[in-house]
């Protein structure tokens, strides 16, 4: 499998705070890869290390086969980056930012830039400082795509965008992937976006990898079931189930969230002799919340 990104035992601390902790992460080429995790999990730190903005304390990472410790910057010609807070010269107009981009990047595609600019309906003559946050993100995406990247790094790009712009943003990214096989690596709290468009998902917590799987595998490996018993639900036996993430017993009905292979789970559950059971749909947001709770993250009740 070709990898677009690979990190090996990557570490980064700020003072005494370990932002990234011995991280090994692989991102297959051509995937739309979603990075999730609670606030402060290390998502932005990781992306900033991948772009070369900050340097790791130890370990290494490879982007398109090139080490991030290489300092010549040539890798940036092929990596588009949309930061969570776009950094652009506030006094420049949008058109001037594009002109700057065309001078900086040898692969710059002026025609593609014009197309995207028009599709987003952006004001070419407006100064950056007078743009809304959403417009700045769009200008930033236009520039990231105009350099014809092989890898796009997006740091919470859809946060704070209105629904229409958010859809346009996703649409543009999907077209890019369909047309050119670009790898997209993006961090977000919007799990609905990911559920729709991502094929791989990794979760970070306290700088460590919680999981890295294809969305299909992830959904296939976690099950929510409702069981109905003849008498009172056997709460103790349920709590002892291997792979249990979350459970609730109310009278004869028990609802559980459990990880593992479906056949194995079903045979364990059959031993509890429920009168009937039913598998319920489980969306990515519930999976995330249950997995994070199992990691000890969440509100204390």
């Amino acid at each position: 499998m070709d990898l677009a990104i690979e990190t090996r035992a990557l570490n980064k601390s700020f003072d005494n705070f370990k932002a990234i902790d011995e991280l090994d992460l692989t991102v297959p080429a051509g995937s739309i890869f979603g990075l999730i995790g609670p606030n402060g999990a290390g998502k932005t730190t990781l992306i900033q290390m991948l772009t070369g903005i900050i340097r790791p304390d130890s370990g290494d990472a490879f982007i398109l086969g090139c080490s991030i410790r290489t300092r010549d910057g040539s890798i940036r010609e092929r990596v588009g980056y949309v930061p969570d807070v776009p950094v652009m010269y506030p006094g420049f107009t949008v058109a001037e930012m594009y002109r700057l981009g065309s001078k900086l990047y040898p692969g710059w595609d002026g025609e593609h830039c014009r197309e995207l600019h028009q599709a987003f309906n952006l004001p070419a003559g407006q100064r950056i400082r007078h743009l809304s946050r959403g417009q700045k993100v769009q200008v930033s995406l236009v520039m990231a795509l105009a350099l014809r990247p092989r890898l796009l790094l997006l740091d919470e790009p859809t946060a704070g965008l209105d629904p229409v712009v958010r859809r346009a943003f996703l649409h543009t990214i999907i077209e890019e992937v369909a047309d050119r096989g670009t790898t997209v690596f993006y961090s977000t709290h919007n799990l609905n976006d990911l559920e729709q468009s991502a094929d791989h998902i990794a979760a970070l917590n306290q700088g460590r990898l919680v999981f890295n799987r294809s969305l299909e595998e992830l959904k296939g490996s976690i099950h929510r079931l409702q069981l109905v018993f003849k008498g009172e639900s056997p709460a103790e036996a349920i709590q002892a189930l291997p792979g249990l993430l979350n459970w609730q017993c109310k009278g004869r009905v028990a609802t559980i969230t459990i990880t593992g292979d479906q056949t194995a789970i079903y045979s364990v559950l059959a031993a509890l002799e429920p009168e009937q059971w039913e598998e319920m749909d489980l969306d990515l947001e519930s999976i995330f919340v249950d997995l994070m709770r199992a990691e000890g993250y969440g509100f204390a009740k």
Partner: protein, 129 residues
């Protein structure tokens, strides 16, 4: 678009695409020989991952629902002669599930037969094939 995908379901998206296209063909929304939308068109229209749609197309091709002609595109396959043995194998399991439900709902044989006949009539009335 005639394809209705709900990413929040546990059923994988590629499976929903496979099921949706099979249903569209069975209902006559897509006719044999008709050109299928490209992977890119479906992905862009529904903001779905192109890799997922490509996987669904692969599965549909294996099952003989669609065919790809080199450089000309993908088309709805013409219906091949029915393989009764295969059809039986595939459908018996599905019908059994209906019968289990029917038992628990307390339906008798005559009522089940009537229900199936009605469903079939309605299907044809709505233009199904």
């Amino acid at each position: 678009m005639w394809l209705d995908i709900n990413p929040r379901l546990s059923t994988p998206i590629y499976q929903q695409v496979v099921d949706g296209i099979k249903e569209a063909v069975a209902r006559g929304i897509l006719s044999p020989g008709e050109r299928m939308p490209t992977v890119r068109e479906i992905a862009a229209e529904l903001s779905l991952n192109p890799n997922t749609i490509a996987k669904a197309y692969q599965k549909l091709e294996q099952e003989g629902v669609i065919e790809t002609m080199r450089s000309r595109g993908t088309f709805v396959a013409s219906r091949s002669s029915v393989d009764l043995n295969l059809a039986r194998k595939k459908l018996t399991g599905l019908v059994d599930k209906v019968l289990v439900e029917a038992y628990h709902l307390g339906l008798e044989r005559a009522e089940i037969e009537q229900l199936l006949a009605e469903s079939l009539d309605n299907w044809v009335k709505r233009g199904g094939k």
